[in-house]
């Protein structure tokens, strides 16, 4: 009997399959996505270029120029040691975004693995989901604080703590889509044709779960940037010599009466970044995962 190519049985998924051209066109028409993308691009470019566009070394002190208010010369002012806040905010953004990206990547890898194993193979489902429930029973930031407090302050600590907190949530999202997709006709058809589990999972199931995953990851990125600031503010993150936005806020807090900008500007930087990520996530959700969108006249 001739082997039937399982791919020819691929039907339209319940979830939008990522079709690059079409999806890109629809994203470009989505105002939230475009605005979010613009904000993020700006933030990403200036922080990436920090080593080249920073007016000075972020840690260079100039005691004569302490507490300069924002001006043409010092757009973000200077701090208690006369350090240029433009440089510190740009470098701080590098670290904040880097931590966010690591958390997103760990979420993508482990969230997909655990979600797929749990949703597709079902063997470990009960155990994995109970553990996820237990981790999710803690208020998220509180658990991250606890883990970070145990591990001791460092950048790696923050990444691990935030990954542990958000991976169960990502895994749950992925598991839910896998559970839907694995029952679809074309997946059943592929199974009937004798395709191996791994092949079905990689070629048929996971590609159809990408949309909710991408949406989820964009929100994880936003939460990670916010939570990183909290952990750093509490002194659980990077050492003060490598500023992140949270650390800048913590440092500025001591001088908040006299030099409000030291606190205000890094916080605004966080807000702009998270706003961009949220807009991006909203746009992606509207376009990629329309089932989640409530639209009524």
């Amino acid at each position: 009997m001739a082997a039937v190519d399982a791919d020819s049985l691929r039907g339209p998924g319940l979830l939008e399959r990522l079709r690059p051209g079409r999806t890109a066109r629809r994203l470009m028409r989505n105002r939230a996505f475009v605005l979010g993308a613009i904000l993020l691009t700006v933030v990403a470019v200036v922080t990436l270029l920090a080593p080249w566009i920073s007016p000075s070394d972020p840690n260079r002190m100039a005691v004569r120029f302490r507490f300069r208010e924002p001006s043409w010369e010092y757009p973000f002012g200077t701090d208690n040691l006369g350090r240029n806040m433009v440089s510190r905010v740009l470098w701080g953004g590098r670290l904040s975004l880097e931590i966010g990206l690591w958390v997103v990547m760990l979420n993508a890898v482990f969230g997909v693995m655990l979600g797929a194993v749990s949703g597709y193979f079902r063997r470990l489902d009960g155990l994995l989901m109970r553990v996820a429930d237990a981790l999710m029973a803690f208020p998220s930031v509180l658990l991250a604080i606890g883990i970070a407090a145990a591990l001791g302050p460092s950048v790696t600590t923050v990444v691990i703590a935030l990954a542990v907190v958000y991976i169960p949530r990502t895994a749950r999202v992925l598991r839910a889509s896998v559970l839907v997709v694995r029952e679809l006709d074309y997946v059943q058809a592929a199974r009937a044709c004798g395709a191996s589990d791994l092949r079905i999972l990689l070629r048929h199931v996971l590609p159809n779960c990408m949309a909710p995953l991408i949406v989820q990851l964009s929100f994880v990125f936003a939460y990670a940037v916010l939570s990183e600031a909290v952990l750093s503010f509490l002194g659980l993150g990077a050492p003060p010599t490598t500023p992140s936005w949270g650390i800048l806020i913590a440092e500025g807090r001591s001088y908040i009466r006299e030099a409000t900008w030291l606190t205000a500007i890094p916080g605004a930087a966080i807000a702009v970044t998270v706003l961009g990520l949220n807009l991006l996530g909203d746009g992606l959700r509207d376009v990629l995962d329309p089932r989640l969108k409530v639209d009524a006249r």
């Binding site: 429930d133 803690f138 807009l279």
Partner: protein, 317 residues
């Protein structure tokens, strides 16, 4: 209803066991010797030995776990290194503070979130809707502790309206409570308000498109009755379900917000414990908050039945 509540309480037990295991495991994450870390750099070997003995770290793991659960069964979460006080006692002492502020914050969230969400939905596709949506989005994007700091600058430093911190219990003075608790409650609430506004708005839009709303209009009911009775009763159902989530985020935020506003609640207790590496307090506090949250979630689930006859009448769930 009682049966359902009991069932939910029983279901909580295995989860609680896992949750307590996680909080027990936390101390195992400490790199190196936890006793050395806790003792700090000035501790003598003898002092470190005392800490180790007190925490039972000199015993084999299985024995540590056994005594952890034995103590837990008696409501004993260990003794705080910092305060020298039983962890449970310290937590219970400070619970009312955090509860009052959380309640205040929750009320702010639900009232403001519901009203703005409903107004936005009723003015769908107008500038009001857009403005609310944008503000809600900004609300969920602001770091709450930063917002708290900015409020201190505005309302305490510049305007001098409110004290920068401290706490007065509502039983002592309601005015004092409002003066001290408003900024913490507001900075905790803002993110939730954004969240709830978004949920309320989209749910309301969904509900307004439902057939039963058309039926209510076809009966000749005034629009106010259609919206405030027929639509709102249905909007409340998903709103009640997110209250559990809101409480979770409120408790999460309390660590940093209570620290900033020097509020003597569970949050600042934990914040201090973290700074000083008071592991028994961190462990116990986390477990305490998680357990409290689980209980609150059961309360929310039972409340759910009040709003949804499909759950109430059949007693399903």
């Amino acid at each position: 209803m009682a049966r359902y509540t009991l069932k939910r309480l029983l279901q909580m037990i295995p989860l609680l066991l896992l949750v307590s295991l996680i909080s027990f495991g936390l101390i195992k994450l400490v790199p190196g010797d936890p006793a050395v870390v806790m003792g700090g750099s000035n501790a003598t070997p003898a002092e470190i030995e005392v800490i180790r003995r007190n925490l039972g770290l000199d015993q084999p793991l299985w024995q540590q776990l056994l005594s952890f659960y034995a103590n837990l069964a008696r409501g004993d979460l260990g003794r705080s290194l910092l305060l020298g006080q039983p962890v449970m006692e310290a937590l219970v002492e400070r619970t009312p503070v955090t509860l009052w502020i959380s309640l205040y914050s929750l009320i702010l969230t639900v009232v403001v979130g519901l009203v703005t969400g409903i107004v936005a939905a009723l003015r769908h596709n107008t500038w009001v809707d857009q403005a609310v949506s944008i503000l809600a989005l900004i609300g969920v994007s602001l770091p709450n502790f930063w917002l708290g700091l900015m409020m201190i600058v505005l309302f305490s430093v510049w305007l001098g309206w409110l004290p920068t911190g401290g706490y007065v219990a509502p039983s002592t003075s309601l005015v004092g409570f409002l003066q001290t608790a408003t900024m913490p409650a507001l900075s905790l609430a803002l993110l939730q308000i954004g969240l709830l506004t978004r949920i309320t708005r989209s749910t309301m839009l969904d509900v307004l498109g439902q057939d039963y709303i058309r039926t209510a209009r076809a009966k000749g009911l005034p629009e106010t009755v259609v919206v405030l009775k027929h639509a709102l009763a249905n909007v409340m159902i998903p709103v009640v379900t997110v209250i559990g989530l809101i409480l979770s985020v409120l408790l999460s935020g309390s660590v940093i917000i209570e620290t900033i506003f020097s509020v003597p609640g569970i949050g600042s207790l934990l914040g201090n414990a973290i700074l000083r590496r008071d592991y028994p307090m961190i462990q116990g506090g986390l477990l305490f908050v998680a357990a409290a949250l689980m209980l609150l979630n059961i309360v929310v689930d039972v409340l759910y039945g009040v709003f949804d006859p499909r759950v109430r009448v059949d007693g399903r769930g």
